[in-house]
């Protein structure tokens, strides 16, 4: 993805900062809005260059729609995984089979990789240990059978990716590219 123009990056930063201000103050008072807008402008002027690369392209309707759809999907995945870890903690025999597995991602942008790593870490049972290029090294609390029994490295990566990275990728690929 090539870099957006300075104006586009600046505008995007202002919009995001002002949105955060609206959420944190939760007020439509004119003075609050004016103060927030001015402060957003100042902070954006100082930080827009490191804040975003794609600029306003991030607000493309399709991306926003996928981001909104991603939220309940992700929360649901997180709750189910939390229950799974709760079961492992409470079970008297402590059924864990931990290991560090390798996954591959199709995401290309840095932001996309970051959000995939964060999503994986937030989902209980998996923590991203390191990312190197398109390889993810993930500590998994219960390594699934077909990943464990994979004969070749390729097969291992393919099976592990099917469990860990692919469920998130179909959304993140659209949102972040």
């Amino acid at each position: 993805m090539e870099e957006a123009s300075r104006a586009s990056k600046f505008a995007y930063t202002v919009i995001v900062l002002f949105g955060i201000w609206l959420l944190l103050t939760a007020s439509l008072d004119t003075q609050e809005l004016a103060t927030g807008f001015v402060i957003s402008l100042i902070v954006a002027a100082l930080t827009y260059d490191v804040f975003t690369k794609a600029g306003l392209a991030n607000l493309h309707p399709k991306r926003v729609a996928y981001a909104i759809a991603y939220l309940p999907y992700f929360l649901w995945a997180m709750i189910m995984a939390n229950l799974d870890v709760a079961y492992r903690v409470l079970h008297p025999k402590r059924p864990i089979r931990p290991g560090i597995v390798k996954c591959r991602t199709v995401l290309e942008s840095d932001t996309g990789k970051l959000s995939l790593a964060n999503s994986i870490t937030l989902t209980p049972g998996t923590i991203t240990l390191d990312v190197d290029g398109d390889s993810y090294f993930i500590h998994w609390i219960w390594v699934q059978d077909d990943v464990l029994k994979a004969k070749t490295d390729e097969e291992h990566v393919k099976n592990a990716s099917r469990y860990i990275t692919q469920p998130f990728e179909k959304f993140l690929r659209v949102i972040f590219g």
Partner: protein
């Protein structure tokens, strides 16, 4: 508004339950990596439940709607920042050379590091 209060109280209760689970996991799990799994994760859902539950509870008690908006924003920031610290901690533990639990079944990261620099020790 009492239904909202009840919902908020229920969410806080669920969140507290997950805090309890993560503490229990801290005691029961065998090595640092698995303890991270339970402590950082259950704490996420625990924090979300408690924080958002507080917001809903406050609205149910007749306070302004701003509570829900603000607590949701706080929850969003927890979701954004929590995994970074979890990742940093577990990576630091691995780089420090803390061994995996003896029951661990696979370690692809060690193989990867060995491939990249065959003569260096992992712990360095």
């Amino acid at each position: 508004m009492n239904a909202l209060s009840a919902l908020g109280e229920a969410l806080v209760l669920i969140g507290t339950f997950f805090y309890f689970l993560s503490t229990l996991g801290l005691i029961r799990m065998p090595d640092v990596y698995n303890r991270m799994q339970t402590s950082t994760k259950s704490a996420t859902l625990g924090s979300l439940g408690v924080v958002i539950g507080t917001g809903i509870w406050a609205v149910g008690n007749g306070m302004s709607w701003a509570w829900i908006v603000q607590t949701t924003a706080v929850a969003g920031f927890i979701l954004l920042t929590n995994p970074i610290s979890a990742h940093t901690l577990i990576r630091a533990a691995y780089k420090r050379g803390i061994p995996l639990w003896h029951g661990s079944v696979v370690d692809k990261y060690a193989e990867h590091l060995a491939e990249k620099s065959p003569d260096e020790e992992v712990s360095e």
